[in-house]
Symmetry: C2
Subunit: 200 residues, 2 copies
């Protein structure tokens, strides 16, 4: 099997949510695994002097329309959360903590957290609500509560974000295939060609 | 024939250049005309507090790579100009002036100007170099020189930009089909579905 595809995403990112629904089928088709990396756009935006899409004049209105239309275009259920954007430390820490134990299970919980936010309007920035989602997947509530507050887990997330930025990650989703970076769910056709034919 | 597709673009925009190579074939396929609107991202970015892509940390390096890769993906020749970005008043005024006389000819000149910048590395922000490109298409040099400096033409461009912003235009290319806005050459699949099936 070739190297895994690196999938960087923020739990608050609508396009990240859409990409999360598609990345595994695409990778599987080309015999690749996916390495899921939750990151914090809030931290990254400070470095790049960028702002959340919906807070930019003109672009904000367009983005809200495009989130929903892009979801329909890809045949993915989507509901704009009532609280947006959100800080995503709590779900990101849960997933990183689980990843250290069982990467496949961490992905399952990551997808459940994304669905809770973008389908169920659950405020996963609230640690207790994020934990409740994880518990439904079989996570122990007290262990999750401890992990979210654990200095080692906090440090792990900080390191993930720093490493992501060192690799050039500035948005979500951001996908790296054999060193080649692709930003956005609208780059999936290019990713597929890269996987199929190699560099073009 | 249904209403024309509104195509907003800045002469300094690589993705606008790519879209300009594709928009007419797409429109023709669905029996649509294209109304070409040169705009000034420099003016629009002041309103939206945005910056040229290549000047944003991290995003800048990615963008340069993505311009070239997207061109290859679409099978379009492309060469990053040595001077980038450029103010695009001169080519925009030439095209708007010609549009008032003969819209089809204005499109021909617009495409020649885009090719000169993104294939020939001609600095079309320089009025004399932009005029030289137009002259090769059959424009009279002295008339073009007068038009670029004409208060009425300047006013016309200012109005185009204001009207574009009033319609929500914040980037290039920006395409409006029957009131529905699409930003980016990477929205062409969605535009095509909209043209084929109507709202989805």
């Amino acid at each position: 099997m070739s190297a895994a595809i690196d999938f960087y995403f923020d739990f608050s990112s609508p396009y990240g949510f859409l990409a999360a629904q598609k990345i595994e089928a695409l990778a599987r088709k080309y015999g690749r695994a996916v390495d899921w990396h939750p990151v914090l756009l809030g931290v990254i935006f400070k470095e790049t002097a960028m702002a959340p899409l919906t807070e930019i004049p003109l672009k904000g209105d367009y983005s809200r329309r495009d989130f929903a239309r892009s979801a329909r275009f890809h045949g993915i259920d989507f509901r704009m959360p009532s609280k947006f954007p959100i800080p995503s430390q709590a779900p990101a820490r849960i997933v990183l903590w689980l990843k250290g134990r069982d990467p496949a299970f961490a992905v399952r919980v990551a997808k459940a957290l994304y669905r809770a936010y973008f389908l169920g309007d659950v405020d996963i920035s609230d640690p207790e609500q994020a934990i409740a989602v994880a518990v439904k997947e079989g996570v122990n509530a007290n262990e999750a509560r401890t992990a979210i507050a654990e200095p080692a887990v906090k440090e792990q997330l900080k390191r993930e974000v720093e490493q992501a930025m060192a690799r050039g990650v500035f948005g979500s989703p951001y996908i790296i295939v054999d060193g080649e970076p692709f930003w956005g769910v609208d780059r999936f056709e290019q990713i597929e060609r890269w996987l199929a034919t190699g560099p073009f």
